[in-house]
Each structure stands twice: as C-alpha cells, then as structure tokens.
C-alpha cells in the first residue's frame, strides 16, 4: 500500500479537521470529495508531509514520515499541488519546474529531460520560456501540475487541480491522471464530481473530518439512485451520502 492511515487525527486548537481517519490506498486514482471544511485539504497536507498528524499512524510509500531519512525518501517520490499555488513571478515556466525538480532531488543527469517532459505533459511547451507573471490562472495551475509530476512521483497529491482549467484542458488532465494511476497512487481532492467520475478508479467522501463513503464512482452513483438533489447521477450519489451521514449524526 502506498498510503496507510490508521486512526489519524489532526486538530487545530479545539477543531478536529481530520478525525480518526483510517485509509489504505494502493496504485490508482482516488478522488476525495466533500463539502467545504470537510477536512480534505488537511488530509492531503498530512499525506504531503507538510502537516504531521496530531495522533494516529501514517505510513507513506511503506515509510514512516516521522523519520527524517524516510521522510526525505518519501518526498523524493512525492508530487503535491496545493490548493493555493504560490509561485515566483519572475521565474519562467521551465525554471520554476526545474527549481522543484532540483529540490526534489531528481538525479542531475535527468533534470532537463524530466522538466521538458513535465512541461509538455501539461501542454505548456510553447510557453516554456514565458515568465509566470505573464500566465493566466489556468496556465499557472498547469505549471503547478508540472512541478508536481516532474519527479515522476509514486504518490501524487492534487488539491483542486482542475480549478481554472478550461474544458479541453480538463479532458487532457483527466487522461494524465488515469495515466499516472496505472503505476502510482494519485489522490485528487476536488469539488467537481465530474472529474471524479471521469478520472478516478475510487472515490472517498469526507464530511466533518470523517470518511463517510469509500467505493467506486459507480457505487457512489448507485447510492443516489432514489435521491432527487443534483443534476448528474454522481452528484445525486454525493448528496445522498452526505444527507445520510448527517442524518446518522456522523458530524456529531
């Protein structure tokens, strides 16, 4: 398993953003759905090793992130796109991606090729020399994705990756996710259920720090069969699970 969580909790003061989550994830694309404040981003940040759990056991890529050498090894094989992408406006696309390739300790001889491949995969080859300050929001998002995949990660964590992408780019991006999911574990946190339906082999639904559903997109769709809220079958499943979990008092 590339991700093993056992009763993981993360608190911020009195607020439990993630509350006793247990999760095992192997290769494939896992979508994390949930309303605002459900704990998706906190969970992703823990998986990205930028936020340690308050309690519980977390293992990534068969390693313990609490140990510095093991954490370093995890980070070499990790790709992460945060929800709010910060960037250096004066850097060009290639420089920004190369900067992260270097810091992720991509072997020196492979850096140039890895950067070029990553930039091409997000369809920014024609803008590779453009400074980041000149790019649109969608393009910046693609730069963020490029830096996340530049080290060909075994664990790819993407927080709202399709925000700002146009429909054509979204289609291409979903194909990219499926491609990565063949060999790596891809975790995508999103509000957009159609992304999950199109790209994810598995879906997890979070509510108030808990995982309230885990299954395939088809299974989630199935849950919404007799539910009236939502325009699309997957949306109906999403709403049905949330309503059921609230009724069961999971949030409490």
């Amino acid at each position: 398993m590339n991700i093993e969580l056992t009763s993981v909790t993360r608190s911020f003061g009195r607020n439990k953003a993630v509350d006793g989550v247990s999760l095992d994830v192997g290769p494939g694309v896992l979508g994390i759905l949930g309303p605002n404040g459900a704990g998706k981003t906190s969970l992703l940040r823990m998986l990205a090793t930028v936020l340690p759990p308050s309690s519980g056991v977390l293992r990534l890529l068969d390693r313990d992130p609490k140990s510095t050498p093991q954490r370093r090894e995890i980070r070499r094989r990790l790709g992460y796109l945060p929800q709010n992408l910060g960037y250096y406006p004066a850097f060009t696309v290639v420089e920004f991606v190369e900067y992260f390739a270097l810091l992720k300790e991509v072997p020196s001889a492979r850096v140039h090729k890895a950067v070029a491949t990553a930039v091409e995969r997000v369809d920014l080859g024609s803008r590779s020399k453009a400074r980041l300050r000149t790019l649109s929001g969608g393009m910046l998002r693609r730069v963020g994705i490029a830096q996340a995949i530049v080290n060909n990660p075994d664990l790819l964590l993407l927080d709202e990756p399709t925000a700002g992408l146009d429909p054509e780019q979204r289609v291409g991006f979903r194909a990219l996710l499926r491609d990565f999911g063949q060999t790596a574990t891809v975790v995508v946190s999103t509000h957009l259920v159609e992304d999950v339906g199109a790209a994810c082999s598995e879906v997890t639904l979070m509510e108030s720090g808990h995982i309230v559903f885990r299954g395939t997109p088809a299974e989630l769709t199935e849950r919404g069969k007799d539910h009236g809220v939502g325009d699309a079958p997957l949306e109906r499943g999403y709403s049905a699970v949330l309503q059921a979990s609230r009724k069961d008092g999971v949030a409490a």
């Binding site: 911020f12 930028v50 980070r75 992460y80 709010n84 960037y87 900067y99 270097l102």
Partner: protein, 524 residues
C-alpha cells in the same frame, strides 16, 4: 556490480554542487537587486567617489571612504534587499509547496542568500575597484590596502545574513523597509558613538569610523588588529544568523502553525550542523567584541592596536628614500615619496621665507618631512607644522595641517613660513605647561611685542598672513588693543624696509631681539 549498474547508481544520485549551482544561477538571474544598481551607482559617484577624489593623493586616506562612505551607503540597500528575498517564501505563499521537497529548507535558503550576496558584493566590490583604480592613477607611493575591502565585504555578508534571517523569520511586505531603516539607524548610531569616543573602544567594531591621518600607512604600516577584530565580529554575526536560519522551525518551509512539529523542522544532522554553526558564530562575535574593548592607540605608530593580536615586529618604520628639491638659496626640502605631488608646492612656500632669514643664527639649513607623531604633542593643535631643531638647524615638519583631507593652499603658503620666521625670531612655538585647573596644556609663545612686530613684518614682506595671535579669551583690554595696534604699525614699518636693510638689521640685532632687549620703539 557491473560498470553499467555502477554508472546508473551514480547517475541516480543528485549532485549537490550541481544542484546548488543551478539554483544559485536562477537566484542570481532573477534577482531584483539589478534595479537598485543604477541608484547605488549614482550614490557612489556623488558620495564616496567624489569625496575620495577631493582627498589628498594618499592610499590610506583615499581608500578610507570605502568604509566611511561607501559601506554605509550600501548597508540599507543590502539589508532591505536581503530581507525582501528572505521573506519571499512567506510572502509568495510557497511554504506548502517547498515543504514537500526532499532537500532541506536550509539548502535553498542559503542559495537564495548566496544569490543576494552575489549581487550585493559584486556591486560593492565593483565600487571598491573603481575607487582603487582611480587612486592608483593619482598616488605616488604605496599600494592598495586590502583590509577596507575585506572588512567591507565581511560586514556586508553579515548585514545580508542577518537581514535575510529576519525576513525569513518574519515574512511580510513591511519587514524589508523596517529592517533597512533599523539597520541604517544602528549603523549611524554606532558611527556617531565611534566618532564621539575617538574610535577607541568596542565602537571600533564599526567599519564606519574616523578618517585616518595623512600619515597613516606611510611612515609605519597600518596595524591590521582592528580590521581582524571587525572581521571576527562580522563573520561571527554572519555565521550566527545562518545557523539561526537552519535552526529555526519557522524557516523549515511549513509556515507558522506546523513550525514546531518534528516533521517540519529538519533532521538531527542538520540541527547539529546548524547548532554548531550558530555556536561558532556567537563565539567568534563575542571574541571579537571582547577584543575590540581592549583596543588602544599606539604612542609610536598612532595605530589602533589590540594587544592580544598585535605583532610588535610590524611596528618597524617603513624604509623610504625621500624626494628632495631646492628652494631659493640652495635650501633643500625633502618629503616622503607619498607626498611627492606636493613637493613643488612646499618648495614655493619655503623660497620667499628662506630669502629673508637665511644666514641668520638659528635659521634652518634644510627642511625634512617627518612622521607627525614624532613632533611635540599638541604642536599641530597650536597651528604649527613643525619645529626647527638640531645642529645645524633643520626644520622638521609635517603636512598634517597643510593637507587636511585635501590640500589647503593657504596653509601651504603661510604655515611653513610662519613656523620658520617664528622659530628664527622668537624660538620654539610654545611649550607644555601644567596648570592646576586643566593639567598639562600646550602654551604657545608669541614672543615680546618687538618680536611680534618683526615676525609679522617679515611675514607681511613675503606676502604671508600674520602669525596667529596668542590666547586671549574674551574681549581684549583697551591696553592690549593699543599694544596690538602699535605692533601692527611697527610690523608695517618693518615690512616696508628694503629686504637688504631688514636682513642687515636682523643680523645686527637678532641676539638682542631674542633676548628681549629690543623694544617696539627700537624696531626700524
């Protein structure tokens, strides 16, 4: 392991020097400091460069602007810019992104700092080089002093490291201007304290200090003691700041909330290294601070010395061959080769006065420039330039008053002439006396009324200013005013005499005049 497998394994390892070189190249390439350079160039030209160009053509004097002018000009820019770069990760919200990278935050931060230093030091050293080249074309003796450049470089590294760390610890858009202004105020405060205390104390740690005397580094080598202490202190401060950067969980690349978590703060080895760097820096800075407190002025060389570091063997006078020229009547004037540019000016000053006094008892047979420190204490404060002493009499002088930062034409013309006339007619310019109120003070000897009249008459005849009046605090009494008027009248009368008549009268009456037997009425 086969050769191919070994090569693959080697290729799979990231090369740290290559990583650092590439990141550093990006940092240098994208540095915003390039926009500050034109402003700094303008400041450099109008402040240190023009100031140095106005100074006398002496290495130590001219290059003192490196630390006294250029360094303080650079400090606020360097501090502000380093803080701005240091706060970049916080300002740009890239903490999470960078926090997931394998390489320790310290590596990339040191690369950012190195990129900043490359620009700051490049600009500083380019200015230093321009100053040194301009000085090299003007001076006649000696070589470029290395210590101002070394101290300036190390202290700028310390300023940048300190400011960068502050920026990293407290990221925000206002941090940079606050740090820049704060460090500027600190530098100015230290400087003003150094000046007010004469530069001898821990305030001598400030690179921005007093302007050295003309003779610094000319007759005796400049002792590097204080420079070494300054380098120790600033190198320690720089290491301390860099160590703090590595130690601080805040700069571990994860933002404030997760700062104290072990997952974010770097490994044990990094912490050990950072702690060692920090401790070494603090120890070095404290040692430098302590040594600076022991600095004292040498009575022999005039250098600021630190006893624990001082090498007495370096106190030997620098051998030199004086350059000489002849004034009228074969009067020889010799100066140190460093002052060769000013020899003709000195000769033209001696010529008219020697025409008046040569042949008289006590008149000097030649003039020799000596190290100012070897002349009687407080002589220069009494506006004298030297003394006539020895047998045969020799005028030993300094150019300390004639060249106060830049050559003073009036002092060149009048100063030497006044000294020689006074020496021949009256005797020594003054003497040290001890008073109950203020201890030992230098008391000028202006001579009797007749002597004053003859001195001023001779000076008037050669077109020089009157000999400076003696001490007279407050308004002179009516009796004194009347006496001064009588002296002035007698001086004018004596000056109006033909030169041969004056000389003949002096030949006949000098002994009586010096003995005080000649009255004002006796002066022709």
């Amino acid at each position: 392991m086969t050769a191919t497998a070994a090569r693959d394994a080697r290729l799979a390892r990231p090369s740290v020097p290559l990583l650092v070189a590439r990141v550093l190249r990006m940092e240098i390439r994208h540095s915003a400091f390039v926009w500050v350079i034109p402003l700094m160039a303008l400041l450099f030209f109008y402040d240190p460069f023009r100031t140095a160009s106005g100074y006398a053509n002496l290495w130590t004097l001219r290059t003192s602007v490196v630390l006294n002018k250029f360094w303080p000009d650079c400090v606020p820019f360097a501090a502000g810019f380093a803080t701005w770069v240091g706060s970049r990760e916080g300002r740009r919200n890239v903490g999470d992104l960078l926090g997931t990278t394998a390489r320790a935050a310290w590596t990339r931060q040191l690369c950012s700092l190195a990129g900043t230093l490359a620009w700051v030091l490049g600009t500083f050293l380019a200015g230093v080089a321009a100053l040194y080249v301009a000085t090299a074309t003007a001076v006649t003796w000696g070589g470029p002093p290395i210590w101002p450049a070394v101290v300036g470089t190390v202290s700028l590294i310390a300023v940048c490291a300190f400011a960068f760390t502050l920026g990293a610890l407290f990221p925000g858009r206002f941090t940079a201007p606050i740090v820049a202004v704060g460090i500027l105020v600190l530098v100015l405060a230290v400087f003003s304290k150094a000046v007010s205390q004469g530069g001898v104390s821990v305030t001598s740690l400030s690179p921005d200090g007093l302007v050295p005397g003309n003779d610094a580094g000319i007759f005796y080598p400049v002792a590097p003691d204080v420079s070494i202490v300054q380098v120790m202190f600033f190198a320690g401060a720089a290491l301390g700041a860099v160590g703090l950067l590595g130690l601080s969980p805040r700069t571990g690349g994860v933002g404030w909330r997760g700062a104290l978590d072990p997952a974010s703060a770097g490994g044990t080895r990094l912490r050990i290294v950072a702690t060692a760097v920090f401790a070494a820096g603090v120890a070095l800075a404290v040692a430098g601070f302590g040594l600076a407190a022991t600095a004292r002025v040498s009575s022999v060389t005039g250098n600021l010395e630190v006893p624990a570091l001082h090498d007495s063997a370096s106190d030997k006078a620098i051998p030199y061959a004086p350059v000489c020229a002849e004034a009228s009547g074969g009067f020889q004037v010799c100066v140190h080769p460093a002052y060769k540019n000013y020899l003709s000016q000195a000769v033209s000053s001696f010529s008219p006065v020697m025409a008046e006094v040569s042949g008289l008892p006590g008149a000097p047979v030649r003039a020799v420039e000596v190290f100012a420190q070897t002349l009687p204490a407080d002589l220069l404060n009494a506006n004298a330039n030297g003394v006539v002493a020895g047998t045969p009499p020799v005028y030993k002088f300094t150019m300390a008053n004639a060249i106060t930062l830049e050559p003073n034409a009036a002092q060149f013309r009048d100063g030497f002439q006044q000294d020689i006339v006074h020496s021949v007619i009256v005797g020594p310019a003054g003497k040290m006396v001890t008073t109950q109120q203020s201890g030992p003070v230098y008391q000028p000897d202006t001579g009797t009324a007749a002597q004053q009249a003859v001195v001023n008459g001779l000076l008037k005849a050669i077109g020089s200013a009157s000999y400076p009046a003696g001490l007279s605090a407050g308004n002179p009494s009516a009796q004194l005013r009347q006496q001064q008027a009588e002296i002035a009248t007698a001086a004018t009368r004596f000056a109006a005499l033909p030169a041969t008549t004056r000389h003949a009268w002096l030949t006949a009456n000098l002994a009586g005049l010096k003995a005080g037997r000649i009255t004002l009425a006796d002066v022709p």
